[in-house]
């Protein structure tokens, strides 16, 4: 999409998040680099514990203390937003960055009607009178596909089904025309047939409004259908970044490649699923060098000694030594040590 744009809308550089504990400092994010361009849908994928949700929370300043940003920069719309005060961030959140969380029940207040929650949010971020705000609320509900929107303003969240609630949450996130929406597992709590509806709504609205989306999910199927570009996260870093078609079909990083291969698909039936040995290292136990080295079929000594930075891979960028000129010089591979997987 918006290729011409000079500076990305959201630019995260070397973001580090840590958690101070009694037993020392636990690094959760170890230098995340990613960007979202104007009007683009960036999918952020990874397995649980890879740091994708924490990245989203850090960007919008919603990290639960004592977790905190240890380093790196977050730029949004040309201005640096990490380290802003709570007040300043609150003005950006909602108005210019909308947020959608996994569970619509926890992001809606059960004691207020949908109409009140919508008009309140609209009037907080936009200079509108009560009547105009209500009119806007009805328009929004209509846009996200809630039937008989005007008559539903007086309803409470529990009167809606899960899919309808998530539509309301999307309406809330969109109400002030944000430039960017951060959606953290927006369809994970929903059944597949409802999931398809919600993805459809999100995709259509963002296209119509030119809103960029950072879509965080573990579901590669959702990413494949929705995203323009994908950032794959592993052990607190982005290890591959490329167009969705390339990452899904022709991933450069051995981890993304293994991940895509291990997903059963409807189209084909295979005898055995290709599997990646072992499991992702726990927070605080990430090995030196490449975090994927202990599980990697291509591992060499270089991988264990030094952490690779992002470099041009086959078609995407990947943090893998294979794409470095030093790969050829590195000593012939010794196989990965045996890992009890799980």
């Amino acid at each position: 999409m918006a290729d011409g744009a000079a500076r990305p809308l959201l630019d995260v550089r070397g973001l580090k998040v840590g958690l101070p504990t009694r037993r020392g400092h636990l690094p959760i994010l170890n230098g995340v680099d990613l960007h979202v361009k104007e009007g683009e849908v960036l999918g952020v994928v990874g397995e649980s514990g890879a740091g994708k949700s924490i990245t989203g929370l850090a960007v919008i300043g919603l990290l639960e203390p004592p977790a905190r940003i240890d380093g790196g920069e977050v730029w949004f719309d040309g201005a640096r937003i990490d380290g802003l005060s709570g007040d300043a961030l609150r003005r950006i959140r909602g108005a210019r960055i909308g947020v959608i969380f996994q569970d619509p029940l926890t992001s809606l207040n059960p004691l207020y009607t949908i109409g009140r929650q919508l008009t309140e949010t609209i009037r907080t971020h936009m200079d509108l009178g009560a009547d105009a705000a209500e009119k806007r609320a009805v328009e929004l509900l209509d846009e996200v596909g809630i039937p008989a929107a005007a008559s539903r303003l007086g309803a409470y969240p529990h009167e809606f089904s899960g899919g309808m609630r998530q539509r309301v949450v999307i309406a809330l996130a969109l109400c002030a025309h944000p430039r960017l929406i951060i959606a953290d597992e927006p369809t994970t709590a929903l059944d597949v047939s409802i999931q398809a509806q919600i993805i459809g709504v999100l995709k259509r609205l963002c296209r119509e409004h030119g809103t960029a989306v950072m879509l965080i999910t573990h579901d590669m199927g959702v990413i494949a259908e929705t995203a323009d570009r994908v950032a794959v996260m592993y052990a607190g870093r982005v290890i591959e970044d490329g167009t969705v078609a390339e990452v899904v079909r022709n991933a450069s990083h051995p981890y993304s490649h293994g991940l895509m291969g291990s997903i059963p698909t409807i189209g084909e039936r295979v005898g055995r699923l290709p599997q990646i040995r072992g499991a992702m290292p726990r927070v605080g136990a990430v090995p030196e060098g490449c975090a994927f080295a202990p599980r990697c079929p291509e591992v060499r000594d270089l991988c264990r000694a030094e952490r690779p930075v992002m470099m041009g891979g086959k078609t995407t960028s990947a943090a893998c030594w294979q794409y470095s000129p030093r790969w050829a010089d590195s000593a012939g591979a010794a196989g990965a040590e045996a890992v009890a997987d799980g």
Partner: protein, 341 residues
């Protein structure tokens, strides 16, 4: 299949009565009934995997629990190897041993205060499979190795393992009583995809080695496609389509099966838009009359609204509960699954 199927269920149903508030009870209001499972029948031969798929609330887990004897059916019959085991009290030790279960969440189904060794040894002791303590120990070691863990892991507690390893422990426990049939209720839904692949591969290897029969409950059609020989699609407590896996994906008959297949996000769908299907699963407390799917079905007519369709044998191995399919009103099946480009 001339021989007796390993597991056979006939017209199995369970209806739950919902509590009525006191005030309403005083006014003589009858309790509402939730028909979680309302008349399902199937048979599984030895060494076969039958999958039951459907969205949340369709009753698929309840089917597994009925077979396991965790609920008492309202009507219907469950038979293992020809022995009627509908009521839990009819189950002799010898029959109970032959059927075990793997649950979705290994965190919740493993006792956190027991060592893994004791968790796995419990069925061996309960069914008197090993002669003495030493043999029990040897069997536990063997089971741990069979599921890809080390014998030394037996000394640890469940919290010391990752989610995938814990599910391996659940599988080892399920295998401990040397069962023929394992009921798997969403065994990989709580796992990450790369770990899911490891567990699915392990389950298939064990099936090949031990001749196990699986009843595989899942909401994930891609996983089901990978694992099963035969698939039953469930909607609001009833089967709407039962067919061999290949046939179901190649030529889905029931409109609900088609909807499910069309709506799954798939890796092959990059850059394509899809037609989202309107509507949601209605409440099972007051399901629509006639065919329960008619409010969402594009092919519904008057008959569908009034008369409930029964499962009827359709083309080949498939059975479909759909008036439109029976009358030939359905358009030909869309090309199976998503064509991977």
């Amino acid at each position: 299949m001339a021989e007796t199927p390993l597991l056979e269920i006939e017209d199995l149903a369970v209806h739950f009565r919902l509590p009525v508030p006191l005030a309403e009870r005083a006014m003589g209001r009858k309790p509402k009934v939730l028909k979680a499972v309302d008349g399902v029948s199937f048979a599984i031969g030895k060494g076969v995997t039958l999958a039951v798929v459907g969205e949340s609330g369709c009753g698929k887990s309840t089917v597994a629990r009925l077979i396991a004897g965790l609920y008492r059916p309202t009507r219907g019959r469950v038979a293992i190897d020809g022995h009627d085991v509908t009521a839990a009290r009819d189950r002799t030790r010898a029959l109970r041993r032959r059927l075990t279960m793997i649950f979705q969440d290994p965190q919740a189904s493993l006792n956190p205060r027991w060592r893994v060794r004791d968790i796995i040894a419990e069925p061996i002791k309960a069914f008197g499979i090993a002669g003495d303590g030493q043999e029990t120990g040897r069997r536990v070691d063997g089971l741990l190795e069979q599921v890809g863990l080390a014998a030394a892991d037996g000394e640890k507690y469940p919290h010391e393992f990752s989610g995938g390893q814990r599910q391996r422990i659940s599988i080892a426990r399920a295998l401990a009583s040397q069962p023929d049939l394992i009921l798997c209720d969403e065994p990989t839904s709580a796992l990450d995809v790369s770990v899911q692949a490891q567990i699915l591969n392990l389950m298939r290897d064990l099936q090949d080695d031990l001749g196990l029969t699986y009843l595989f409950i899942s909401h994930d059609l891609a996983v089901v496609n990978h694992m099963s020989d035969r698939i039953a699609v469930m909607y609001l407590g009833r089967f709407v389509e039962v067919a061999d896996a290949a046939a179901l994906f190649a030529a889905p008959q029931h409109p609900y099966t088609r909807l499910l297949l069309e709506t799954i996000p798939d890796l092959g769908m990059t850059g394509r838009d899809r037609e989202a299907v309107a509507g949601e699963v209605p409440s099972p407390i007051d399901p629509p009359g006639g065919c329960a799917f008619h409010p969402r079905c594009p092919h519904a007519n008057e008959r569908c609204r009034t008369e409930r369709p029964e499962l009827r044998t359709a083309a080949g191995s498939a059975a479909v509960a759909c008036h439109a399919a029976e009358e030939g009103r359905l358009p030909p099946a869309p090309a199976g699954g998503a064509a991977d480009g």
